[in-house]
Symmetry: C2
Subunit: 396 residues, 2 copies
Amino acid sequence: MSGRPAPRSRRETRAVVLETLLRRGGAFRPHIARDAQLTEASVSRILAELRKEEIVDEIRQPAPYAGGPTALITLSNNIYVAGIELSNNRLSFSIGDVSGTIDYVERVPVSPQLDQAEFERIFTGCLATMGKWTAKRGVSVRQAAFSLPGYSNANTNPIFPWDMERLRSFLSDTMQGVPLSITNSVIAQAAFHRYSGNSSYPATGDHLFLFVGHGVAGVIVNESATIEAFSPFELGHMVLERNGLACRCGHHGCLEAYTSLRAISKIVGVSETEILQRGDRFLDQLELKAETREQLRERLFLLGLGTGNALNLHPLPSVVISGWPSLLAPEDRQAIIEGMNESLLGGFDAKRMQVSFIAPSIGTDPQAALNYAAYCFVRAGGLDTRAEERHVEENA
Amino acid sequence: MSGRPAPRSRRETRAVVLETLLRRGGAFRPHIARDAQLTEASVSRILAELRKEEIVDEIRQPAPYAGGPTALITLSNNIYVAGIELSNNRLSFSIGDVSGTIDYVERVPVSPQLDQAEFERIFTGCLATMGKWTAKRGVSVRQAAFSLPGYSNANTNPIFPWDMERLRSFLSDTMQGVPLSITNSVIAQAAFHRYSGNSSYPATGDHLFLFVGHGVAGVIVNESATIEAFSPFELGHMVLERNGLACRCGHHGCLEAYTSLRAISKIVGVSETEILQRGDRFLDQLELKAETREQLRERLFLLGLGTGNALNLHPLPSVVISGWPSLLAPEDRQAIIEGMNESLLGGFDAKRMQVSFIAPSIGTDPQAALNYAAYCFVRAGGLDTRAEERHVEENA
DNA sequence: GCACACTAATTACACAGTGTAAATATCAAG
DNA sequence: CTTGATATTTACACTGTGTAATTAGTGTGC
């Protein structure tokens, strides 16, 4: 640990310290020092600053071993953030603390074909309601996050084909001062898995997280990077069968046309809305006929094929799959492996590629956006984002 | 330009200054200051340091306008770097200066099925020859780069299925102190386009660079990022036709099975080795029959389909294609657009997607690796890489 | 040929952010 | 209540930069 590796601005340093706290849900100084690559001295200074600003709390805690640390540092539970999620069937607003605890929530059903004007109307309404809630309690929201499926910085969205420029300016006007980050739902999900404190997440290193629901969305999770650096990986519209099934995007043979909830709802004979009502365990309640299972396996095979294709483009050692495939029996899910075996370079090899499944989180929205908002707050070092929005360059 | 944006280590600052010089092939102080986001004062200090170390030269030059700058700063032409390239038909060694001028070159034919032991034998031999050349002239190589197709940090390579761990340790042992970077050929190509001073490159912003040769390799070029941050995007083994043509990788229906030089050599009736001999313009010399052209268009359609799939995963506004497709008539190349139109979300739209072609650089190896080596030298701030290889973290 | 307007280039000084090392605090166990 | 072990704070030094004052070039117009 010799030299002086890479200097950081105070904001960055605060951000890494706070992120450690968010990730671990509290830590002792020595841990923070290691995680943040700082000396105890620096940690001490930073924490003194953060404590004065009431961003962190220090809980006196008997040392767990002789001569051990005496104070557990946690994020203050008086910091409120807002999470807003748009999914294919509803728009949800929430307020909670940075640990992800929800104090307020409102959910409004919307149509998957929701148009932009209607969205703006509903959004404005919900925001007003939320504003009343905060006003009554005198709480101030430090950071908000809005997640929607398919979002990217590019000006196109496969799910809601809106004018993203207009969306951004609508939101920044409407939020009136509260810093707002917009992100892809699947990235918010990744934030949820990283920060929710649920330690049962199956992958530890870099991996591809895939969510198979209305669409097929993925995100490249780089364990050692900040969440902003994650790239969404929209798998749903990879054409795998020329002249195959028609997809809502107008093309034929897209993966989504085979594996979306809508597509499989026809196979299992349950309407899409009913699936959403039954929530997480909708497949459990069904007695799947052998023929149905075979059809589902065929779909999973395609999912595997597409996933393998994606991993050929961008090699990663592990995939975590969430969504309806996680509800099937392991022997059925094996079809995904078979599909990957036919596209993944060198074939599927369990030594080089780990595939895991996690329960789909249907209906937990807007939990993920709330976690993402907490992340954004922390990333900004707990400082007001509005102030330093001026790193503009002026090339000749 | 108010506050103190993001502090940098001296090494980083030197790196950005040197990179500006590499990119522009020389610049005046005010330009450097703008590009590197530094004040004139800092530029002055850094340059004084670099001049003392004989890394940069200062050429007295009459100012181009009233009161203009007086000294043009360039990279010293006494810095030698080595570029080594392995392609599917030869291994080439070169030494040159950071501007990319080649002073020494040796090329040895190798087989596309070259095995790792044989490679090591040839490499050692060429390196010895190169060593004699440098010894005779008393030049010392400051940085070397080795590029090979399909390379990634992952331990697999679609082209040369070797043990990458062994390759890396072989190279670091063999190079005896000369810092060596290993990279994907397509990334070296990107370095070539960025630093060769050839300004006719068609894309200016972020784009996908695709090279269609023995394989189909791509790289996501992020104009505002360092080259290390570029991701290789191996398109060749995307399965587009289940039960399609057999590919050398053992799968069926890979893009490469349809569009590699080997695949089209069968269509045009010219052997692969002959194509390589004829070099860049091999297709010009052929009188393509209508039927042949139709077959090639079919192949290009698949290339477009796969490219569209890749761009759905990772949206970018522009694609630059190099390789044999660039040699065809524009009306034939239109098939690529047609393919993209069937996979790219929302269809192909010239307003949102720019497709350009550049002449393939067959036979210019190891120029690209040499440019990449220069880039690596500059990125390290012109400091010895060996010294500070110790940013290891030790998490509990 | 010389003052001028203008910009370039250098330098002294101040300040932010950190690490080092010394000083001080805390706890468990005897 | 001392000891051993680690935690925490603090004073000081060092790096890298920006600011602002200073010095140096250059072309124009007289």
